[in-house]
Protein backbone atom coordinates (compact mmCIF):
# COMPACT_ATOMS: atom_id res chain seq x y z
CA UNK A 1 0.00 0.00 0.00
CA UNK A 2 1.36 3.44 -1.00
CA UNK A 3 1.95 5.82 1.90
CA UNK A 4 1.14 9.54 1.76
CA UNK A 5 2.31 12.10 4.29
CA UNK A 6 -0.25 14.91 4.57
CA UNK A 7 1.21 18.04 6.20
CA UNK A 8 -1.74 20.32 6.91
CA UNK A 9 -2.74 22.17 10.07
CA UNK A 10 -6.48 22.36 9.30
CA UNK A 11 -8.13 19.38 10.91
CA UNK A 12 -11.17 19.76 8.62
CA UNK A 13 -8.95 19.18 5.59
CA UNK A 14 -7.11 16.34 7.33
CA UNK A 15 -10.51 14.73 7.68
CA UNK A 16 -12.02 15.40 4.23
CA UNK A 17 -8.97 14.80 2.04
CA UNK A 18 -7.30 12.36 4.46
CA UNK A 19 -10.31 10.07 4.59
CA UNK A 20 -10.98 10.31 0.87
CA UNK A 21 -7.40 9.23 0.21
CA UNK A 22 -7.77 6.32 2.64
CA UNK A 23 -10.97 5.25 0.88
CA UNK A 24 -8.99 5.26 -2.35
CA UNK A 25 -6.61 2.71 -0.90
CA UNK A 26 -3.73 4.83 0.41
CA UNK A 27 -2.17 4.86 3.82
CA UNK A 28 -2.27 8.42 5.12
CA UNK A 29 0.08 9.76 7.79
CA UNK A 30 -0.98 13.16 9.16
CA UNK A 31 1.25 15.97 10.37
CA UNK A 32 -0.38 19.07 11.83
CA UNK A 33 2.70 21.32 11.74
CA UNK A 34 5.88 21.80 9.72
CA UNK A 35 8.32 20.40 12.27
CA UNK A 36 6.54 17.10 12.77
CA UNK A 37 6.08 16.97 8.99
CA UNK A 38 9.85 16.93 8.43
CA UNK A 39 10.34 14.36 11.21
CA UNK A 40 7.62 12.04 9.89
CA UNK A 41 9.01 12.31 6.36
CA UNK A 42 12.29 10.84 7.66
CA UNK A 43 10.82 8.11 9.85
CA UNK A 44 7.80 7.01 7.81
CA UNK A 45 9.43 7.17 4.35
CA UNK A 46 6.22 8.11 2.45
CA UNK A 47 5.85 7.65 -1.32
CA UNK A 48 4.36 11.13 -1.65
CA UNK A 49 4.05 14.28 0.45
CA UNK A 50 1.12 16.69 0.34
CA UNK A 51 2.29 19.99 1.79
CA UNK A 52 0.40 23.10 2.87
CA UNK A 53 2.39 26.35 2.87
CA UNK A 54 0.97 28.21 5.86
CA UNK A 55 1.92 25.98 8.77
CA UNK A 56 2.66 26.44 12.47
CA UNK A 57 6.19 25.89 13.87
CA UNK A 58 7.89 25.63 10.49
CA UNK A 59 6.46 27.31 7.36
CA UNK A 60 5.80 25.20 4.26
CA UNK A 61 8.61 26.70 2.17
CA UNK A 62 11.10 25.88 4.95
CA UNK A 63 9.72 22.33 5.17
CA UNK A 64 10.18 21.93 1.42
CA UNK A 65 13.74 23.27 1.63
CA UNK A 66 14.66 20.84 4.40
CA UNK A 67 13.01 17.88 2.67
CA UNK A 68 14.95 18.54 -0.51
CA UNK A 69 18.22 19.02 1.39
CA UNK A 70 18.19 15.72 3.31
CA UNK A 71 19.51 12.68 1.49
CA UNK A 72 16.75 10.38 2.82
CA UNK A 73 13.82 12.63 1.78
CA UNK A 74 15.07 14.49 -1.28
CA UNK A 75 13.60 12.07 -3.83
CA UNK A 76 10.09 11.94 -2.37
CA UNK A 77 7.71 13.86 -4.69
CA UNK A 78 6.04 16.80 -2.96
CA UNK A 79 2.71 18.24 -4.09
CA UNK A 80 2.10 21.70 -2.66
CA UNK A 81 -1.56 22.13 -1.69
CA UNK A 82 -2.36 25.65 -0.62
CA UNK A 83 -4.60 28.65 -1.04
CA UNK A 84 -1.74 31.01 -1.87
CA UNK A 85 -1.90 31.79 -5.54
CA UNK A 86 0.63 34.56 -6.17
CA UNK A 87 2.99 33.82 -9.04
CA UNK A 88 6.01 34.40 -6.79
CA UNK A 89 4.81 31.66 -4.41
CA UNK A 90 4.29 29.18 -7.25
CA UNK A 91 7.72 29.98 -8.69
CA UNK A 92 9.42 29.71 -5.31
CA UNK A 93 7.83 26.30 -4.61
CA UNK A 94 8.80 24.96 -8.02
CA UNK A 95 12.36 26.27 -7.64
CA UNK A 96 12.63 24.53 -4.30
CA UNK A 97 11.74 21.27 -5.99
CA UNK A 98 7.97 20.76 -5.65
CA UNK A 99 6.49 18.29 -8.15
CA UNK A 100 3.31 20.31 -8.64
CA UNK A 101 1.40 23.18 -7.12
CA UNK A 102 -2.35 22.98 -6.50
CA UNK A 103 -4.55 25.84 -5.29
CA UNK A 104 -7.20 24.26 -3.05
CA UNK A 105 -9.93 26.69 -4.05
CA UNK A 106 -9.54 25.74 -7.73
CA UNK A 107 -9.89 21.98 -7.28
CA UNK A 108 -12.58 19.58 -6.19
CA UNK A 109 -11.70 16.76 -3.84
CA UNK A 110 -11.94 14.28 -6.68
CA UNK A 111 -9.54 16.31 -8.83
CA UNK A 112 -6.98 16.42 -6.01
CA UNK A 113 -7.24 12.65 -5.58
CA UNK A 114 -6.74 12.24 -9.35
CA UNK A 115 -3.58 14.40 -9.17
CA UNK A 116 -2.29 12.26 -6.30
CA UNK A 117 -2.99 9.10 -8.32
CA UNK A 118 -1.13 10.44 -11.34
CA UNK A 119 1.82 11.52 -9.22
CA UNK A 120 2.07 8.09 -7.62
CA UNK A 121 1.35 5.91 -10.58
CA UNK A 122 1.98 7.95 -13.68
Amino acid sequence: MKRILFIEDESALQKTLGETLRENGYEVVSALDGESGVKLAKTKKPNLILLDLILPKLPGFEVLKQLKKEEETKDIPVIVLTNLEEVKDVEKAMELGATSYLVKANYSLKEVVDKVKTALEG
Binding site: L13, N83, A105
Partner: protein, 315 residues
Protein backbone atom coordinates in the same frame (compact mmCIF):
# COMPACT_ATOMS: atom_id res chain seq x y z
CA UNK B 1 19.27 54.72 9.19
CA UNK B 2 18.20 58.36 8.64
CA UNK B 3 20.65 58.75 5.77
CA UNK B 4 19.39 55.53 4.26
CA UNK B 5 15.81 56.80 4.49
CA UNK B 6 16.71 60.12 2.86
CA UNK B 7 18.61 58.32 0.10
CA UNK B 8 15.67 56.01 -0.57
CA UNK B 9 13.38 59.04 -0.80
CA UNK B 10 15.71 60.58 -3.32
CA UNK B 11 15.42 57.54 -5.54
CA UNK B 12 12.63 58.96 -7.68
CA UNK B 13 12.05 55.96 -9.90
CA UNK B 14 11.64 53.59 -6.97
CA UNK B 15 9.29 56.02 -5.23
CA UNK B 16 7.12 56.38 -8.33
CA UNK B 17 7.05 52.64 -8.94
CA UNK B 18 5.59 52.26 -5.45
CA UNK B 19 2.45 54.08 -6.56
CA UNK B 20 2.33 52.43 -9.96
CA UNK B 21 1.77 55.80 -11.66
CA UNK B 22 3.51 56.93 -14.83
CA UNK B 23 6.40 59.34 -14.27
CA UNK B 24 4.40 62.37 -15.43
CA UNK B 25 1.80 61.73 -12.71
CA UNK B 26 4.16 60.86 -9.91
CA UNK B 27 4.09 63.44 -7.05
CA UNK B 28 7.82 63.30 -6.32
CA UNK B 29 8.72 63.81 -9.96
CA UNK B 30 6.24 66.70 -10.33
CA UNK B 31 7.64 68.25 -7.19
CA UNK B 32 11.16 68.10 -8.60
CA UNK B 33 10.05 69.62 -11.92
CA UNK B 34 8.24 72.39 -10.08
CA UNK B 35 11.35 73.17 -8.02
CA UNK B 36 13.47 73.33 -11.17
CA UNK B 37 11.00 75.66 -12.88
CA UNK B 38 10.97 77.95 -9.85
CA UNK B 39 14.77 78.10 -9.68
CA UNK B 40 14.97 78.71 -13.42
CA UNK B 41 12.36 81.49 -13.37
CA UNK B 42 14.05 83.11 -10.34
CA UNK B 43 17.36 83.22 -12.20
CA UNK B 44 15.71 84.64 -15.35
CA UNK B 45 13.82 87.24 -13.30
CA UNK B 46 17.03 88.25 -11.58
CA UNK B 47 18.84 88.54 -14.90
CA UNK B 48 16.04 90.66 -16.38
CA UNK B 49 15.80 92.72 -13.19
CA UNK B 50 19.55 93.36 -13.18
CA UNK B 51 19.24 94.71 -16.69
CA UNK B 52 16.17 96.94 -16.44
CA UNK B 53 15.59 97.74 -12.77
CA UNK B 54 17.71 99.84 -10.48
CA UNK B 55 17.44 97.63 -7.43
CA UNK B 56 17.26 94.01 -8.64
CA UNK B 57 17.92 92.53 -5.17
CA UNK B 58 14.45 93.55 -3.99
CA UNK B 59 12.83 91.91 -7.02
CA UNK B 60 14.88 88.80 -6.35
CA UNK B 61 13.81 88.77 -2.73
CA UNK B 62 10.17 89.06 -3.74
CA UNK B 63 10.45 86.28 -6.32
CA UNK B 64 12.27 84.04 -3.88
CA UNK B 65 9.63 84.53 -1.17
CA UNK B 66 6.84 83.70 -3.60
CA UNK B 67 8.86 80.67 -4.74
CA UNK B 68 9.34 79.51 -1.14
CA UNK B 69 5.58 79.70 -0.46
CA UNK B 70 4.87 77.80 -3.69
CA UNK B 71 7.39 75.11 -2.79
CA UNK B 72 5.86 74.59 0.65
CA UNK B 73 2.39 74.35 -0.91
CA UNK B 74 3.58 71.89 -3.55
CA UNK B 75 5.22 69.79 -0.88
CA UNK B 76 1.97 69.68 1.12
CA UNK B 77 -0.01 68.65 -1.95
CA UNK B 78 2.42 65.90 -2.89
CA UNK B 79 2.45 64.60 0.71
CA UNK B 80 -1.34 64.42 0.81
CA UNK B 81 -1.35 62.57 -2.49
CA UNK B 82 1.18 60.12 -1.07
CA UNK B 83 -1.06 59.53 1.93
CA UNK B 84 -4.07 58.88 -0.27
CA UNK B 85 -2.10 56.50 -2.46
CA UNK B 86 -0.84 54.66 0.59
CA UNK B 87 -4.35 54.37 2.05
CA UNK B 88 -5.51 52.94 -1.26
CA UNK B 89 -2.68 50.43 -1.31
CA UNK B 90 -3.42 49.36 2.25
CA UNK B 91 -7.06 48.87 1.33
CA UNK B 92 -6.12 46.62 -1.58
CA UNK B 93 -3.72 44.65 0.62
CA UNK B 94 -6.48 44.30 3.20
CA UNK B 95 -8.83 42.93 0.53
CA UNK B 96 -6.12 40.48 -0.49
CA UNK B 97 -5.53 39.23 3.06
CA UNK B 98 -9.25 38.90 3.82
CA UNK B 99 -9.85 37.06 0.55
CA UNK B 100 -7.03 34.61 1.28
CA UNK B 101 -8.40 34.02 4.75
CA UNK B 102 -11.87 33.38 3.31
CA UNK B 103 -10.54 30.78 0.93
CA UNK B 104 -9.55 28.17 3.49
CA UNK B 105 -12.91 27.79 5.27
CA UNK B 106 -14.56 27.91 1.86
CA UNK B 107 -12.42 25.02 0.56
CA UNK B 108 -13.20 23.04 3.71
CA UNK B 109 -16.90 23.57 3.17
CA UNK B 110 -16.82 22.67 -0.50
CA UNK B 111 -14.84 19.48 0.07
CA UNK B 112 -17.04 18.37 2.99
CA UNK B 113 -20.09 19.02 0.84
CA UNK B 114 -18.58 17.01 -2.01
CA UNK B 115 -18.25 14.02 0.33
CA UNK B 116 -21.85 14.38 1.53
CA UNK B 117 -23.16 14.68 -2.02
CA UNK B 118 -21.16 11.73 -3.30
CA UNK B 119 -23.51 9.42 -1.42
CA UNK B 120 -20.63 7.56 0.24
CA UNK B 121 -21.99 8.56 3.64
CA UNK B 122 -25.37 6.99 2.96
CA UNK B 123 -28.16 7.42 0.47
CA UNK B 124 -29.38 10.96 -0.12
CA UNK B 125 -33.05 11.72 -0.62
CA UNK B 126 -34.03 13.90 -3.55
CA UNK B 127 -35.15 16.73 -1.28
CA UNK B 128 -31.82 16.63 0.57
CA UNK B 129 -29.95 16.73 -2.71
CA UNK B 130 -31.89 19.84 -3.68
CA UNK B 131 -30.69 21.66 -0.56
CA UNK B 132 -27.15 20.35 -0.93
CA UNK B 133 -27.17 21.73 -4.45
CA UNK B 134 -28.18 25.15 -3.12
CA UNK B 135 -25.23 24.98 -0.71
CA UNK B 136 -22.87 23.99 -3.50
CA UNK B 137 -24.07 26.66 -5.92
CA UNK B 138 -23.69 29.33 -3.29
CA UNK B 139 -20.28 28.20 -2.15
CA UNK B 140 -19.25 28.26 -5.83
CA UNK B 141 -20.56 31.81 -6.09
CA UNK B 142 -18.60 32.83 -3.05
CA UNK B 143 -15.48 31.20 -4.46
CA UNK B 144 -15.87 33.18 -7.71
CA UNK B 145 -16.37 36.39 -5.75
CA UNK B 146 -13.23 35.80 -3.69
CA UNK B 147 -11.33 35.01 -6.88
CA UNK B 148 -12.51 38.28 -8.48
CA UNK B 149 -11.63 40.26 -5.36
CA UNK B 150 -8.14 38.79 -5.38
CA UNK B 151 -7.70 39.66 -9.06
CA UNK B 152 -8.87 43.23 -8.40
CA UNK B 153 -6.51 43.56 -5.45
CA UNK B 154 -3.65 42.31 -7.65
CA UNK B 155 -4.55 44.86 -10.32
CA UNK B 156 -4.63 47.69 -7.80
CA UNK B 157 -1.39 46.84 -6.08
CA UNK B 158 0.24 46.31 -9.48
CA UNK B 159 0.91 42.66 -8.68
CA UNK B 160 -1.03 41.28 -11.64
CA UNK B 161 1.58 39.25 -13.45
CA UNK B 162 1.59 39.33 -17.21
CA UNK B 163 3.55 36.78 -19.21
CA UNK B 164 3.90 37.12 -22.96
CA UNK B 165 3.62 34.11 -25.22
CA UNK B 166 2.48 33.47 -28.79
CA UNK B 167 -0.88 31.77 -29.03
CA UNK B 168 -3.84 31.41 -31.33
CA UNK B 169 -6.85 33.46 -30.26
CA UNK B 170 -8.99 31.32 -32.56
CA UNK B 171 -8.05 28.11 -30.73
CA UNK B 172 -8.69 29.77 -27.38
CA UNK B 173 -12.14 31.00 -28.42
CA UNK B 174 -13.07 27.54 -29.75
CA UNK B 175 -11.93 25.94 -26.52
CA UNK B 176 -13.96 28.38 -24.44
CA UNK B 177 -17.11 28.04 -26.53
CA UNK B 178 -17.08 24.28 -25.98
CA UNK B 179 -16.45 24.69 -22.27
CA UNK B 180 -19.45 27.05 -22.08
CA UNK B 181 -21.68 24.65 -24.02
CA UNK B 182 -23.44 23.10 -20.98
CA UNK B 183 -24.21 26.57 -19.61
CA UNK B 184 -25.37 28.01 -22.95
CA UNK B 185 -27.57 24.96 -23.65
CA UNK B 186 -29.13 25.21 -20.20
CA UNK B 187 -29.84 28.88 -20.92
CA UNK B 188 -31.32 28.11 -24.35
CA UNK B 189 -28.65 30.19 -26.05
CA UNK B 190 -26.87 29.40 -29.26
CA UNK B 191 -23.28 30.51 -29.83
CA UNK B 192 -21.98 30.88 -33.37
CA UNK B 193 -18.34 31.53 -34.23
CA UNK B 194 -16.76 32.97 -37.34
CA UNK B 195 -13.04 33.53 -37.81
CA UNK B 196 -11.28 35.14 -40.74
CA UNK B 197 -8.91 32.82 -42.61
CA UNK B 198 -5.19 32.70 -41.74
CA UNK B 199 -5.42 34.79 -38.61
CA UNK B 200 -1.99 35.54 -37.11
CA UNK B 201 -1.07 34.50 -33.57
CA UNK B 202 -1.10 37.12 -30.84
CA UNK B 203 1.64 37.89 -28.31
CA UNK B 204 -0.03 38.15 -24.91
CA UNK B 205 -0.78 36.35 -21.65
CA UNK B 206 -3.00 33.43 -22.61
CA UNK B 207 -4.45 32.79 -19.16
CA UNK B 208 -5.36 36.46 -18.67
CA UNK B 209 -6.95 36.76 -22.13
CA UNK B 210 -8.84 33.57 -21.35
CA UNK B 211 -10.25 35.36 -18.30
CA UNK B 212 -11.31 38.28 -20.53
CA UNK B 213 -13.17 36.10 -23.04
CA UNK B 214 -14.70 33.97 -20.29
CA UNK B 215 -16.12 37.09 -18.68
CA UNK B 216 -17.51 38.39 -21.98
CA UNK B 217 -19.14 35.06 -22.96
CA UNK B 218 -20.49 34.61 -19.44
CA UNK B 219 -22.07 38.08 -19.50
CA UNK B 220 -23.56 37.52 -22.94
CA UNK B 221 -25.24 34.28 -21.82
CA UNK B 222 -26.23 35.55 -18.40
CA UNK B 223 -28.03 38.66 -19.55
CA UNK B 224 -30.14 37.01 -22.22
CA UNK B 225 -33.60 35.75 -21.43
CA UNK B 226 -35.60 33.44 -23.64
CA UNK B 227 -33.99 32.17 -26.82
CA UNK B 228 -30.57 33.74 -27.00
CA UNK B 229 -28.25 34.19 -29.95
CA UNK B 230 -24.60 35.01 -29.52
CA UNK B 231 -22.26 35.70 -32.42
CA UNK B 232 -18.50 35.73 -31.96
CA UNK B 233 -16.24 37.06 -34.70
CA UNK B 234 -12.49 37.23 -35.10
CA UNK B 235 -10.67 39.20 -37.76
CA UNK B 236 -7.45 41.03 -38.49
CA UNK B 237 -7.51 44.81 -38.12
CA UNK B 238 -4.59 47.27 -38.32
CA UNK B 239 -1.82 45.13 -36.85
CA UNK B 240 -4.17 43.65 -34.25
CA UNK B 241 -6.58 40.78 -33.94
CA UNK B 242 -10.13 42.03 -33.41
CA UNK B 243 -12.58 40.05 -31.26
CA UNK B 244 -16.29 40.77 -31.22
CA UNK B 245 -19.15 39.23 -29.27
CA UNK B 246 -22.73 40.20 -30.07
CA UNK B 247 -25.78 39.16 -28.09
CA UNK B 248 -29.52 39.81 -28.25
CA UNK B 249 -29.85 40.19 -24.49
CA UNK B 250 -30.90 42.88 -22.07
CA UNK B 251 -28.62 45.62 -23.38
CA UNK B 252 -27.31 48.45 -21.24
CA UNK B 253 -29.45 51.53 -20.54
CA UNK B 254 -27.91 54.68 -21.99
CA UNK B 255 -27.50 56.39 -18.62
CA UNK B 256 -25.52 53.41 -17.28
CA UNK B 257 -23.17 53.04 -20.24
CA UNK B 258 -20.42 55.31 -18.98
CA UNK B 259 -20.15 53.43 -15.70
CA UNK B 260 -20.00 49.82 -16.82
CA UNK B 261 -16.21 49.45 -16.55
CA UNK B 262 -16.21 50.77 -13.00
CA UNK B 263 -15.60 48.50 -10.05
CA UNK B 264 -18.75 47.13 -8.36
CA UNK B 265 -21.05 48.88 -10.82
CA UNK B 266 -24.14 46.91 -11.79
CA UNK B 267 -26.53 48.24 -14.37
CA UNK B 268 -30.25 48.39 -13.58
CA UNK B 269 -31.03 46.04 -16.44
CA UNK B 270 -28.35 43.64 -15.16
CA UNK B 271 -29.96 43.63 -11.73
CA UNK B 272 -33.34 42.92 -13.30
CA UNK B 273 -31.99 39.93 -15.21
CA UNK B 274 -29.60 38.53 -12.69
CA UNK B 275 -29.18 39.11 -9.01
CA UNK B 276 -25.87 37.24 -9.07
CA UNK B 277 -22.63 38.91 -10.07
CA UNK B 278 -20.13 41.08 -8.28
CA UNK B 279 -19.83 43.98 -10.69
CA UNK B 280 -16.12 43.24 -11.01
CA UNK B 281 -16.02 41.31 -14.31
CA UNK B 282 -15.82 44.20 -16.78
CA UNK B 283 -13.43 46.14 -14.54
CA UNK B 284 -11.10 43.11 -14.60
CA UNK B 285 -11.56 42.74 -18.37
CA UNK B 286 -10.64 46.38 -19.00
CA UNK B 287 -7.65 46.32 -16.65
CA UNK B 288 -6.25 43.18 -18.30
CA UNK B 289 -6.67 44.65 -21.79
CA UNK B 290 -4.93 47.85 -20.72
CA UNK B 291 -2.04 45.76 -19.49
CA UNK B 292 -2.06 43.81 -22.78
CA UNK B 293 -1.90 47.11 -24.73
CA UNK B 294 -5.22 46.22 -26.34
CA UNK B 295 -8.39 48.24 -26.71
CA UNK B 296 -11.94 47.55 -25.61
CA UNK B 297 -15.29 49.04 -26.47
CA UNK B 298 -18.97 48.28 -26.84
CA UNK B 299 -22.24 49.28 -28.50
CA UNK B 300 -25.49 48.61 -26.75
CA UNK B 301 -29.21 49.31 -26.91
CA UNK B 302 -31.50 48.53 -24.05
CA UNK B 303 -33.77 45.64 -24.85
CA UNK B 304 -31.95 44.88 -28.14
CA UNK B 305 -28.58 43.57 -27.01
CA UNK B 306 -24.92 44.47 -26.74
CA UNK B 307 -21.79 44.07 -28.80
CA UNK B 308 -18.47 44.06 -26.98
CA UNK B 309 -15.17 44.12 -28.85
CA UNK B 310 -11.50 44.17 -28.06
CA UNK B 311 -8.24 44.19 -29.98
CA UNK B 312 -4.94 42.53 -29.15
CA UNK B 313 -1.63 43.47 -30.75
CA UNK B 314 -0.09 40.79 -32.95
CA UNK B 315 3.44 41.61 -31.74
Amino acid sequence: MVIKKILSQLNLLAQCRKYDTPLNQCPQFLFLIMGLIIIFSSVITYALGARYIKDPQIVLLLVLSVAAVLLVLANLISRSFERLAQANRLKSEFVSIVSHQLRSPLSNMRWALEILMSGNMGKIEEKQLEYFSILRENSDRMRELVKDLLTVSRIETARLSFKKEMFSLEELVKELISSFEPFSKASNTEISFQAEKDLPMVLSDRSKIKLVIENLIDNAIRYTKGKGKIEIKLKKKDGSVYFEIKDNGAGIPKEDQKYIFQKFFRSKSALRYQTEGSGLGLYIVKSILEKAKGKIGFRSREGKGSTFWFTLPIK
